[in-house]
Symmetry: C2
Subunit: 428 residues, 2 copies
């Protein structure tokens, strides 16, 4: 196909008329599809159903360290859960603290604690005139929501195919003591599916922050969430790298089993240096007596070890892969060569990121909604919900069925085409 | 027995020699007993074992409102869990928000949020020069730990047999805008087992705080935790009282199922006015996508309704009652008439509070420890761990077996006697 921009006004108008007919037909089907969030599908949830049978009234509910998991106690997680999550997060088991059901909650609490109590003895952020965070964009809306909620100024840092633009990161972090953190989804990033390159990770570990309480917020949400057996990204483990570079305290790693077992009923964790964890435990012991140990035990016994978890993830991949392939094929077949949008084929994670022509994203999402397809709000992948180019759209193919995904992809490309034609016509 | 203070020096020395022999014998047994925390016993935990069979791989895990409890979603709790906890907390189901496994965590988060964001639009407490809390004493150490952690100044308010001294509460709350809250365990209080009288609750509801963001922190931890079928305390429901008095926003109620199902694997909740809950949800939606719905469903299906829960609590009472009776009988038999200590026989809750002669509590706890009995640290029931009279000791009879409790009670009264004799001898 020729690029739309090279078509004449008449050709575009003709094309538009045809596409509108097509759109009308699709709309008439009265479809209702939600591709807005990275939710696992029912089929994926079914994969973990046997987890419900792991603990019964006949089970011994005492964990390896001899603690009755039904009672109070064990602030930072039972040993077998720590071992499992440590292996998943590629850190020593003593550098893990297990929390409740949500790593988002752990991240929120980490920022909240820094606001009121600082970081390892630093001035509480609420006592400072200005606190800033770097936000690689596009990124995860819930990260940005946390920093926005606490009045932290967010600075956009563009993503590149190898991770955040490290020239900018290095310059800002080393010069501005008000910059206290950077949000990272380093593997199969949300929404682009980009994995940070070795060089990027090394440059992160070598950062020399102006602020002693600067931390890298390393949300490795998709660490083992591959789509393919033969094509997998590899991410260098940052905690060890920071240690090697003499900055053991510079990184907090976050992860959870939300998209491994059950979202909302999984277990979340933080990994960090001894000094950071001592700081965290000092607060944690005031906040709680301990998190849900029975659910920790349930997870540890169900997966057995990291190998069990990796096998389990292959079954997730088998369900996810065809959906991603369906979207990517439709994008390629329908939009390839038209020069009205670009995207990256990810090798894992939960999203495909689409960049439309400038000024079209909101209109495309609105158009798709007209035909019954709900997508993530345009702009959501940027701090304050403001995409300066109005161009990024996050596609979340996990939740609908494969059948529905095919339908959704069609609606999406139709919407992209129609909005893009209007945009091009404006300047003809 | 004659009061110790009326005995001669010689009589006391003779008594002391006998008691020391007895103590030596007990010590030689090498007992190891922990009566320090309000932990349910293994026998009590066994009561809820069938809860582990409620959800299996064959179960329908969709809740009544049609949500798959395995997936993301439902910020503030599934309907059936709300109904159960609402009935337990005696409030309308729409005035409940369900949280994770710990009401302590909910209380912590409530204070943390007030620090950084204020209460319903008030100035964030971290921006104020001074924030104060009233602390009825003796009280719950973990409450005091939260306010201490946030640098909130704690003001002791003496407990009376009908609740906190309301003359003092009224005077302070109405005159000092820095006073933002009061910690209350209104039923079977920790540690005294006192239930606030009708008059006390009415006076709470009628408070006219100088601070618009003053809240009563009503931790009804033992609302249905009776010891006896025939002798039960009744507590007036405060949320409705506050509403009647035109102060619907003045109270936060907290509770959990920790000592009903499994400590650490139960569900916690807050009950408050619509306006308060809107404020709370605004923060909660940033902090989490939602808490563990499978555990909510497990609880709702296991108990069925509040009647099931009440029946369940009778079985807890059957296990707890003999332990309380054993301690109370030993106190009465061994210490009655000696005028070296006083206590209240509670009708529910988890504790017996003992007041020794002034200046003896620390020594008694140390003495008991010598014989292998670990009790709650003396002073722990006061803010900053400082009991001005060094007199209050919290006895927690729930965890040990009945056999052990009898042994523990003996060690305790021996320790009280020995320390008291020394004290009296000082002034002879």
């Amino acid at each position: 196909m020729a690029a739309y921009k090279d078509l004449s006004k008449e050709e575009l108008l003709g094309l538009k008329a045809d596409l509108e007919k097509e759109f009308k037909k699709v709309k008439a089907k009265g479809i209702k599809l939600d591709m807005s969030r990275g939710k696992p599908s029912t089929e994926q949830l079914n994969l973990s159903m046997e987890m419900m049978d792991v603990l019964t009234s006949k089970s011994d509910l005492v964990c390896t360290e001899g603690v009755d998991c039904r009672n109070y106690g064990v602030l930072d997680g039972i040993k077998e859960a720590k071992q499992l999550l440590a292996d998943m997060m590629e850190v020593p088991k003593d550098n893990i603290v297990i929390f409740g059901n949500s790593s988002l909650n752990v991240m929120y609490d980490t920022i909240a604690r820094s606001m009121t109590h600082g970081v390892m003895g630093s001035t509480p952020w609420c006592k400072l005139d200005k606190v800033k965070f770097l936000c690689p964009v596009p990124g995860y809306d819930r990260h940005f929501a946390i920093t926005e909620y606490f009045g932290i100024e967010m600075i956009n840092v563009p993503m590149t195919p190898t991770g955040p633009d490290m020239d900018i990161v290095e310059k800002l972090v080393s010069s501005d003591p008000a910059i206290k953190g950077i949000w990272c989804v380093p593997k199969y990033s949300n929404p682009q599916g980009i994995t940070y390159s070795d060089e990027t990770v090394h440059r992160f570990a070598k950062l020399n922050p102006a602020a002693e309480d600067f931390r890298i917020y390393w949300d490795n949400a998709y660490g083992i969430h591959h789509l393919y057996e033969d094509k997998q990204d590899h991410l260098i483990e940052i905690f060890m790298e920071c240690k090697k570079e003499g900055h053991p305290d510079m990184v907090y790693k976050f992860a959870s089993t939300s998209k491994i077992s059950f979202p909302g009923s999984g277990i979340g964790a933080i990994a960090a240096s001894d000094a950071n964890l001592a700081d965290i435990r000092n607060q944690m012991k005031i906040q709680t007596i301990g998190h849900d140990k029975l659910n920790q035990l349930r997870h540890a016994r169900y997966f057995g070890n990291i190998h069990g978890m990796v096998q389990h993830m292959k079954r997730h991949a088998d369900i996810m892969r065809p959906k991603f392939d369906a979207v990517l094929n439709t994008l390629e077949t329908e939009l390839g060569g038209l020069e009205i949008g670009s995207w990256i084929a990810p090798r894992g994670g939960y999203f495909i990121s689409f960049d439309s022509m400038e000024g079209c994203a909101k209109a495309i999402v609105a158009k798709a909604k007209e035909a019954g397809l709900v997508m993530t709000d345009a702009g959501a992948t940027f701090p304050y919900g403001r995409d300066p180019k109005d161009s990024n759209i996050r596609i979340a193919p996990s939740y609908p069925t494969l059948e529905e995904i095919r339908e959704a992809a069609k609606i999406f490309v139709l919407s992209v085409k129609l909005v893009s034609i209007d945009k091009i016509l404006e300047s003809k």
